[in-house]
Structures are given as structure tokens and as C-alpha cells.
């Protein structure tokens, strides 16, 4: 019963994503603005591409690609405590536009890699955290963060990751990654973040 409602929610939220994309938000960071409605078809892509070497758009954060190294080095996981893994995590944050929980094109390779990593380490469970930048209000950002976490959750489930291995939580704007007040800091803070909760 809960499962069906989850699926219902899934389809609802993808509908929402669509309508949000249609809304033609002009708030996105200039670097990611590659046209309004023209983006729409890409947002509806149903068959996610296989994990590919990182092709980072200008709006993704971080330049180091730790994930490949981790995949090739299992001891990296089992030789370390959860704290150590999360302190130097192989999983990268998923970026978002301002006031949006729509998965960006640049988010998909990151999520694809996350899914691949989860398939490699099939016992690992994750907490998917939704975070926001400081510019929204406290209450609204709690809801928005939840929606971001859910967007990442739904995509991973659509790639075949069992929902039982994933939990979502929103921290709103309470835990900024970057305490700055610049466009760059805000972009870093709008994220879905993965914490390994068991292995």
C-alpha cells in the first residue's frame, strides 16, 4: 500500500518537475541557463544513460572524481569506518538550481555513478539529505530540501536501487556546506548529499 503510494508520488513528482520546468524559472544561475522550454525534452528523458566518465557542466561542484577510484578499490569501503567513509566520501553532491528540485542534466551522471557504486557495494545503505541555500526562508526550505532529496531518491530507485537502501531527510538551509554569501557558495549549498549509514 505504501509502495503504491510511493509510486504514485513518483509519477506525481515527475509531473511536478515537468510543470516546474515549464514554469521557465529565470532564477537559475547564469552558467546553467541554456534556454527555457528547449530544455524540456531533456528533462523528460526516461532511459538514463549508463554511467559515463564525468563530463562536468559548469554548474557541477567539485572537480575531483573520487568515485572511479573508490569503485576500483573495495578496501576503501570495508577498511574504513562509516565516519571515515563519509569524511572522504566517494559520492558527490547533486546540484540544483535556485528554488528548484528538478534534476539538472549535470546531476544525472553524478546519480548514475552513485547508483553504480551502490551496485558495487550492494549492502550499503544511504541517507539522502536535501539542502538549500540561505536565500529562501527557513520553513519553505525545509520543504524544498525534502523535495530535492526525493528527486535524487526517485532517480536512484528508477535505476533499480531498492528503495529500502535509501532514506531521505531535509536539512533545509540549516547546514550550509559553504558559509559564504556569494552565487558560488549558494550553488554549492543547493545539493542532495549522500551519507553512508551502513555497509
Amino acid at each position: 500500500m505504501r509502495w503504491t503510494s510511493r509510486i504514485l508520488w513518483l509519477s506525481l513528482s515527475s509531473l511536478m518537475s515537468l510543470s516546474l520546468a515549464c514554469g521557465g524559472k529565470d532564477e537559475r544561475a547564469p552558467a546553467t541557463t541554456s534556454g527555457g522550454p528547449a530544455n524540456l525534452p531533456r528533462a523528460t528523458t526516461t532511459a538514463p544513460p549508463r554511467p559515463t566518465p564525468v563530463d562536468e557542466g559548469p554548474d557541477t561542484m567539485g572537480s575531483e572524481d573520487d568515485s572511479l577510484r573508490s569503485v576500483s578499490d573495495p578496501d576503501n569501503i570495508f577498511g574504513r569506518t562509516l565516519d571515515e567513509i563519509n569524511a572522504d566520501s566517494p559520492l558527490r553532491d547533486v546540484p540544483f538550481d535556485f528554488d528548484s528540485a528538478v534534476l539538472l542534466d549535470s546531476a544525472r551522471p553524478i546519480l548514475d555513478q552513485t547508483a553504480e557504486w551502490l551496485r558495487t557495494y550492494s549492502t550499503v545503505t544511504l541517507l539522502v539529505e536535501g539542502h538549500c541555500d540561505e536565500r529562501g526562508t527557513v520553513e519553505y526550505n525545509l520543504a524544498l530540501g525534502e523535495r530535492r532529496a526525493t528527486a535524487a531518491f526517485n532517480y536512484l530507485v528508477s535505476l533499480g536501487i531498492p528503495a529500502s537502501r535509501l532514506k531521505t531527510i531535509s536539512y533545509g538551509k540549516e547546514f550550509p556546506l559553504d558559509p559564504g554569501h556569494t552565487e558560488q557558495a549558494w550553488a554549492r549549498n543547493r545539493r542532495a548529499h549522500f551519507e553512508v549509514t551502513s555497509k
Binding site: 565516519d83 526562508t137 527557513v138
Partner: protein, 458 residues
């Protein structure tokens, strides 16, 4: 480090307990009051002191010190009463340098009312403090200068340590007796603060003027968005103490608390109804953020919104018949109102690209709603929507981001947060945006909520 803190947050929930906040009112002892004999007055005398064309003026000389050991308390009383009256912004306070003209006689019978009149005083406050048997005793008298009569007098008797509290009570009495205003000087504010460490936020309480800031929670987790019960004896708030954001209730004078709403999804943004019986909140238990109402103990939960958008930030109207809330159903967050059945939906905010955190004025005079509004692409500013004129006025302008506004119980002031000094701090102001005062300085302080006027029994 971060993950460690995160683990601590969850752990802290298990260990976390409410800090037993002593009932300061009771533990510090009561302030007893006794009306002083006064001359008979005719009706609403305070209406008659007003002279057309200018605000009513008030002179408040420093409290006289009856016994030498009352000097310190007397100084505190003078300062706090002055500060309270200045904040209230009801009267124009005459500067103290003028008072020497009128003298400062110890005997009320020798008050030279003509001299007070000559410096422009409509109302004169006279008070004397002394220590009697280790108690602070203060007598306060209010005089109508033109009528040359005492219109109110009261004797306050309390612990020596209670000077600030006594002063707030005196200020409220002056406002009530001299102008029929319901003062807010004895109220408290609740808010969330990260001053104990940036990976946690605790609920704090302070006096309305920023004094006596102390934590209510101590669970080293995220504790957010407090809301007062209308009797001022309890707060509901969100805590991540178990890892799952849930709704809790703390009885602040009894040192106990309970869980109101937990379970699936996250629960957040609570708002206590004006009659104290219900709590509205947001929850993602049914998939996305919707607004629910439950009894104050969490029973009889029902859902009010049914929309795939984000619906959050419920705020009760003073009648308890309507709930304002935020929804991004048109693509961007805007303010709406509905009745408590979830029906008769109407949109309230049309200006600004992002509006959130509504709070309905409890005032009997003004029908107003405040919220944070993002105009153009800049930061947020506090605005007030007037239901009668259907006009919106902007109270803050362009200094940092200004958010989370909430009304004082009399609807004459607001509290809000601003990042104008770099970090998020709590400020208060008048309902026209004037008289802005910074109340917090330590750490980041968010989501202030102005508590009710304490009952007569406390």
C-alpha cells in the same frame, strides 16, 4: 568532523532532555501589588490629557531612592521603565534634562504642576524605591498634569533580584492606566540558535527586550521553528533528535515535554491555534509537503491541503477561523489563506517573486498579515498586508535579508531576523518599520516567535 557531528545529533536525541527551565516568576518569588489611595477621577481621564495637534507627552524622572541599599535596583527600575516606554512609542518622552526646572520634591503634595506644564508634560510618573526587610518596594504614581491630580498609584513589593521584572510590570501598568494600551513588556520571545555549535540548533527564550537569553532544549540536535501556546506555558517545535524531524511540545514551567507528531515523512512548521486546542503544521507523510491540523496533543490529525506543490508555513488568523500558508502552486512561493476545513482558498500575495512565513496580526484594531517578501531578485524584506485597504507596505529596506516576522501580542510591534550585520540576528520594530532594535548577537538566531502576555496569576 561533520559526519561525527551528524552522528552526535542523532545520539544527542536519545540523551537529550529538556532543560528544566525554572519558572522564574515562581522561583524568584511573586511581586505583590497593592493599589495606592487615589483621588476620584472622572471617566476616561487619559483621553482628556491629549491636546490636539501633538502627541501626548510624558515625563518620567529617575526613580527616587528611599533607602541607600535600593540605589542599584532603583537605577535598574528607572532604566528599564524608560526603555520600555520608549519602545512602546505611545508617548513622546520628555528629555530628562528638562526636569530640573520642575524640581524633584519628595512629597507629592509639593509637586509644582505649573512647572511640569511649562516644560510640556501632559503626564508625570513619580516613583520611589526602597528596601524593606530584604524586599524591593516601589511606589509608582501617575499624575495628570493639567488636572493636577494623581490618577493611579500602586505599590510593588518583590524580591531584590526582581528589579527588571518589576520594571516591566510597572511599564505595562503605566501603559494600561495612562493610555489603555495593552503593553508587551512582560512577554518573552522564543527562537532557534546555533550559538552552542554550528551543527546544532537549540530553542532559546529571552525577554522581549533581549535580556535573559537561555536555552530551553539541550539535545545537540536541530531544533527549529518554535510556536507558543496561547497561555504562554508551552511551546511546540521541531526537533531532529531521533533523526526524523518530528513535532514536540515543551511545558516550559514544568520541565516536561512530549512528542506530538512523529512517524512517516518529516513534520515541521507548527502553529498553535488562538484557542490553544489545535496545532497546524506541515508534513510530508503523504508524499509532499501538505498542511495538517491536529489536537494540541497530536490526536485527530486531518489534512487540509491536497496539492502536488509545496504547502507549508501555516499561520492562524486571530479568530481561529482561517489559516494563512505558503504554496508554490503557481510556480513560486506565495501566500494563501483558507478556512480551517481547507476550503475557501484565496491568494493574498501578488507582489514579489517569493513570499513566505506569514503571521496574522492578533490586534483588535488592525487586520494585517506580515510575511517575508523577495522583491525582484534581491534579499527578503518584511512586508505587511492590510486586509482593509488591500495595500502592502514594506517595513525593512535593503539591509541584509529580513525574514521570519512575527507580531507582538498587541499587534503594535514585530520581531524578525536580519542578516544586516553578517550573521542572522533577531530584531524588533514598530508596525510602521520604525524603532528597529537588535536583540541577539551571539551565533545565528532564527525564527523568533513573540510569546503572549502572561496571565494575571503569574
Amino acid at each position: 568532523m561533520r559526519h561525527l557531528m551528524r552522528a552526535l545529533i542523532v545520539m544527542g536525541g536519545v540523551l537529550g532532555a529538556l532543560v528544566l527551565l525554572q519558572n522564574r516568576i515562581h522561583s524568584a518569588g511573586r511581586i505583590q501589588e497593592e493599589n495606592l489611595q487615589q483621588q476620584p477621577t472622572q471617566g476616561d481621564w487619559y483621553v482628556n490629557v491629549a491636546r490636539p495637534g501633538r502627541p501626548v507627552t510624558m515625563a518620567i524622572p529617575d526613580f527616587e531612592i528611599g533607602t541607600a541599599d535600593a540605589a542599584e535596583a532603583g537605577k535598574t527600575l528607572s532604566e528599564v521603565v524608560w526603555n520600555d516606554m520608549e519602545f512602546a512609542s505611545i508617548y513622546r518622552l520628555l528629555p530628562k534634562r528638562l526636569y530640573s526646572i520642575a524640581g524633584n520634591p519628595a512629597d507629592a503634595k509639593k509637586i509644582d504642576f505649573y512647572q511640569w506644564e511649562s516644560i510640556g508634560a501632559d503626564i508625570l510618573i513619580r516613583a520611589v524605591s526602597e528596601v524593606q526587610r530584604d524586599r524591593l518596594v516601589t511606589e509608582v504614581r501617575i499624575y495628570a498634569v493639567l488636572a493636577q491630580e494623581m490618577v493611579f498609584g500602586k505599590r510593588y513589593d518583590g524580591p531584590l533580584t526582581a528589579a527588571r521584572r518589576m520594571a516591566h510590570r510597572i511599564a505595562d501598568d503605566i501603559l494600561l492606566q495612562a493610555g489603555n494600551y495593552r503593553g508587551i513588556n512582560q512577554t518573552k520571545l522564543a527562537f532557534a540558535s546555533d550559538r552552542r555549535g554550528e551543527q546544532s540548533k537549540e530553542i532559546y527564550l529571552m525577554d522581549y527586550d533581549g535580556f535573559d537569553q537561555k536555552p530551553l532544549t539541550a539535545n545537540k540536535s536541530l531544533n527549529l521553528t518554535p510556536t507558543w501556546s496561547p497561555d504562554g506555558r508551552a511551546l511546540a517545535y521541531i526537533s531532529y533528535r531521533t533523526g526524523q524531524p518530528s513535532l514536540y511540545r515543551a511545558f516550559i514551567y514544568e520541565g516536561r515535554g512530549d512528542t506530538i507528531v512523529s512517524g512517516a515523512g518529516m513534520t515541521f512548521s507548527p502553529s498553535w491555534s488562538p484557542d490553544g486546542k489545535l496545532i497546524a503544521f506541515s508534513s510530508t507523510r503523504d508524499g509532499n509537503s501538505e498542511i495538517y491540523v491536529a489536537n494540541a496533543d497530536g490526536t485527530d490529525m486531518r489534512r487540509l491541503t491536497h496539492h502536488a506543490s509545496i504547502d507549508t508555513s501555516p499561520a492562524w488568523s486571530p479568530t481561529g477561523r482561517e489559516i494563512a500558508f505558503t504554496s508554490d502552486r503557481t510556480g513560486a512561493p506565495q501566500i494563501y489563506a483558507m478556512d480551517t476545513e481547507g476550503l475557501n482558498l484565496r491568494r493574498i500575495s501578488f507582489e514579489g517573486s517569493y513570499n513566505d512565513s506569514p503571521s496574522w496580526s492578533p490586534s483588535r484594531e488592525y487586520s494585517e498579515l506580515t510575511y517575508a517578501s523577495r522583491i525582484e531578485r534581491g534579499p527578503f524584506d518584511i512586508v505587511v498586508y492590510d486586509f482593509q485597504t488591500k495595500q502592502t507596505r514594506q517595513l525593512t529596506t535593503g539591509r541584509g535579508s529580513n525574514e521570519s516576522s512575527d507580531w507582538s501580542p498587541n499587534g503594535l510591534h514585530l520581531v524578525f531576523t536580519s542578516t544586516r550585520s553578517g550573521t542572522s540576528q533577531i530584531f524588533s520594530m514598530n508596525r510602521d518599520g520604525s524603532n528597529q532594535r537588535q536583540l541577539t548577537r551571539e551565533g545565528n538566531n532564527t525564527t523568533p516567535q513573540w510569546g503572549p502576555v502572561p496571565g494575571q496569576d503569574s
